[in-house]
Symmetry: D2
Subunit: 180 residues, 4 copies
């Protein structure tokens, strides 16, 4: 079982990253920091002559994601949603749909997904729209949405004090070890 | 009463733009297409020494938005959320909070806002998380969230066939004319 | 095309009822006021020896609903959800599932449904969980969820002043006339 | 610290009850099974001459709830919402608002609340509207909404096999012990 962790923060070592690292420690994992790559906003060519898509790092990143069995989206909750980096990456999936819809969806349909969102302002409640958005995304792609963690943190390190969240992480790790 | 329309599509003349244009026609309006500007992803410097923020078009755009009385966010529904362009622009509001929180929030608190989202896959239902996200955003900034339109469209022009949506637009225009 | 309107208010002539009446006027309609019937809370016998279900008006009401093509749930928004009368009636659908699941779901799968919720405290935003609940209900039963109206009203008659809502109602009526 | 547990199931010893019992074991607790009481649907007298409210067990139950510091709503997820018993009980809070609004809200504002919902059909996702409904309820009453558990279970006893949920329960118990 290989895990792709997609970090959506622009900040290194923030709470969402720290939590994801506890989650995947010791597993076979490909850690992808979106901030390290150049991924341009999606060009919507659905109803125009196809023009060239941006020549940037999108294909490199999506290939690495598709090579794993489990996808973990890890994002700080910015303005009650996934970070712009995360959203812009997902928007580009529309490009993959145009390039090879059948293949892209077939691959995503074999995967399972988790979402980690960490925020400061009542994340258990105000992070819910973010989770529902991913719910619809994974329904569309046929990906199994295994679960999510909405954790509370502001200053780096906060999240490692959140006992309920850490207990959840620990149980997910047990689950994964049984699946190996 | 001046209106700032913030277009979040990368595509010109798409459904969300067409609908917004019907809404604001004849009013005093500043039309801002985010795709025409360079707005980098937010750098999260909350817990580090302040480094320079990107020198891009963010300040130009946000100043134009703050100069009007009404804000209309107009976005295609991409992957069940606001477009990456829209989300990246909003993420940068965190920069304004760092630069001058009191002034920024004081200005936003005097404004009223509308959200237009147009999508193809049951937007009345699957566009709801997008609306709830804006609900929390405007709660935080103290902006009056007047209302929203979730319209259905795929091919450009579809939205202009949606009688329920057009009837709603017509009533909002009447409302605005009374406020002039 | 026959319409079953299910009124969930305990109050006669309230806003949700008034709005529904404008919607269905002139159509073939069966108007069912839940407050006129005795429908006991659901008894959950899934994991026990089947005991008798309450001998009350549930069967009478559900048969009338199933005899029509379109279902319109009309409820005041009490405490950010459907009224207890409405929810208790829906809970009893579990009894129909036990009594004849195949037949019950087959019938509901042929119907289309609308939901009207009227409340006083930002119904366009705070009525959303009510709509999402019905979204899942109709997904489960295979019923086509055509749309919903979240209207604002407190004192009886308020709703008839809400131009946006009335415009929506008018468009739905046009749609229905085309389907006759 | 005294805890009022409000059981909304019609079934004794179901999953939601079992989970709540693990949560509160050893604490000072008043266990209230709504199914043991007669609580009639709410009569909406806001805009009519005040008529007598039902003479049933509502006052007895609400007084016991208000006598404690912590409220735990425990409900099976029926049709993607709280049970009819639970909803009907909450609807009656409108009666308390009419009888003595200031006093009723002042008391609720001092309390903290938890919600437990147990269901079979993807409760972590499809139980979300139930949580958002309680979010608005507690915002209105000024009650501190401490958190919630959405657990999975169908047959009685299922919930006690859910390690993530039990880990969460265990951490909440630790938290409570620190507050004693």
């Amino acid at each position: 079982m290989g895990i792709a962790v997609i970090y959506g923060s622009s900040r290194k070592d923030g709470n969402s990253e720290q939590l994801a690292n506890v989650l995947v420690e010791g597993f076979e994992v490909d850690q992808i920091h979106l901030a390290d790559y150049n991924i341009e906003p999606h060009q919507d060519y659905r109803h125009s002559e196809k023009q060239p898509y941006p020549e940037d790092d999108y294909h490199h990143v999506i290939e690495r994601v598709l090579a794993q069995d489990v996808i973990v989206f890890t994002t700080p909750i910015y303005w009650y949603g996934a970070s712009g980096l995360t959203k812009t990456f997902i928007d580009r999936w529309s490009q993959s749909l145009r390039e090879n819809k059948t293949d892209f969806l077939a691959k995503l349909a074999t995967k399972s997904a988790w979402v980690i969102g960490v925020g400061d302002d009542k994340p258990h409640l105000k992070g819910i729209p973010l989770i529902q958005q991913f719910q619809y995304i994974f329904e569309y792609t046929g990906t199994t949405f295994e679960g999510y963690i909405l954790g509370k943190g502001n200053k780096p390190g906060d999240i490692l004090q959140d006992a309920v969240t850490l207990a959840t992480v620990s149980e997910i790790r047990k689950l994964w070890r049984q699946q190996l």
